[in-house]
Symmetry: C2
Subunit: 157 residues, 2 copies
């Protein structure tokens, strides 16, 4: 592996780590770490689409939405699959499938509320800063139907 | 308006025009123009999420999906609202609401099939090339619930 390839591999690993850290902050309900995942300042306007939601624009609305989600989620776990990173210069684009297991507040005693599994796909755009890779945009959406795109590739004329 | 502001305004207008051209290609069912809206080559892997679909990665799968959609759509019109552009260097991020009116093949005679209205939000990432701004990523998702984020801003403590 030459030097350029080694650097590219290291860059991609850094982006993947930032992407993982974003989801781990959500799993822990850690709003500080979640806030730290997003681009600071107002130079670039951040945007966020939660599954089924309209677009949220700007740090204030985006971070407030996460505070709301965290307050209404007792348990959430993300199993990421199909993580794909493409990057150029200071911008990286990550697509991934979020296999989500979550539960709301318990209804009685100390047991967890009912657990629900969901399939969401996300496009996450990161910018490189002096403090590492930070989210510029997150767009998550529910997968409502299976695609057989991959299955028919060998049989398509 | 100083020179820097004038240039930024011109850049944003160019990105908006590229975004509009993408939707107009879809409205016309013009696969050539649609293909021309996307980043050429394989240097940067493009990705696309249609509402409710899993992620499609790479030009071949993305463009094939549009051919399929065009073949199954007799009429589609996009009324774009809330178009927001943020950019830095060679990358631009556009969020918008796609107010979609569409109809499938007619069921008899030369009349259009039933028209359906849908609300979709999109995050479109563009890269600047010698041939203008080209799509790196499109992520569209259905809006399943209203947000009253904006309505309660004045009353939130």
């Amino acid at each position: 592996m030459n030097e350029e390839h080694a650097r590219a591999a290291a860059d991609i690993a850094e982006v993947e780590a930032a992407n993982t850290a974003f989801y781990e902050a959500l799993e822990r309900g850690d709003l500080d770490a979640l806030t730290d995942s997003w681009l600071p300042g107002e130079e670039l306007t951040v945007s966020c689409v939660h599954p089924g939601w309209p677009v949220l624009t700007g740090r204030r609305d985006v971070l407030r939405s996460y505070a709301l989600i965290m307050a209404n989620t007792d348990y959430i776990q993300f199993f990421l699959t199909d993580v794909n990173v493409t990057m150029t210069g200071e911008t990286a684009l990550v697509t991934c499938t979020e296999n989500i297991l979550s539960g709301g507040p318990a209804e009685d005693g100390d047991a967890l509320g009912p657990l629900v599994g969901r399939l969401v796909v996300a496009t996450n755009v990161f910018r490189h800063t002096a403090d590492g890779w930070k989210l510029w945009s997150h767009h998550g959406s529910p997968v409502l139907a299976d695609s057989d795109e991959d299955d028919d590739e060998d049989t398509t004329p």
